[in-house]
Symmetry: C2
Subunit: 97 residues, 2 copies
Amino acid sequence: MTAVEPRFDAVVHAPPRLQICGLLAVVDTMEFAAVRDAVSVSDSVLSKHVKQLEEAGYVQVRKATIASRQRTSLALTKAGRAAFDAHVAELRRIAGL
Amino acid sequence: MTAVEPRFDAVVHAPPRLQICGLLAVVDTMEFAAVRDAVSVSDSVLSKHVKQLEEAGYVQVRKATIASRQRTSLALTKAGRAAFDAHVAELRRIAGL
DNA sequence: GGCACTCTTTCCGGCATGGAAAGCGACGGG
DNA sequence: CCCGTCGCTTTCCATGCCGGAAAGAGTGCC
């Protein structure tokens, strides 16, 4: 198994974003509201963090009108997963394991 | 084995301090200069972060004059190790293991 | 047209951070 | 003794991130 190259990533490291990435790493896709509740932040705060992750190319934001409701779903991009994995590897390295 | 209670700790989470704690968790005791070099920060920055860790009761700072040289050595306190372990546990939880 | 739902963006005060530089206590040399 | 150095410590300062509150904007329903 090829080990992931440890690489500290400040964008991923910030607490709210680390949680967001952690969630998306597991479920692949999650709706805005669900993430907001899981992370326990306000709409505006989540929106801002998601924007940062999006600008970093780490999450893909899909907007769809389903059942006449606006739904925004989030998902990690390949780069996002790579960055997250690399960051986690770095955390393990720092933590001594 | 009793699992460590996961608990996010902002004092420990900041990158430089996470590294400092990670180092001290492994070696138990390390000199100021060695930590500074390992973490790659300036004297002033390390001093400030150490101070925060000290005020949080996480590291013990021992100053000694050995061989006519001033030596400051750092070590995690019990509380520091507990906080670090708990934080790492929380990171694992967030990272999905 | 008006209202509701779902985010987005703006505005704002507050706190953390790091670099540069001045401070300081302890020695050792001259 | 005074001076310079070593090894941190503290201050000063500029910057950036952060989150809450509130105003905005897009879409569909009535």
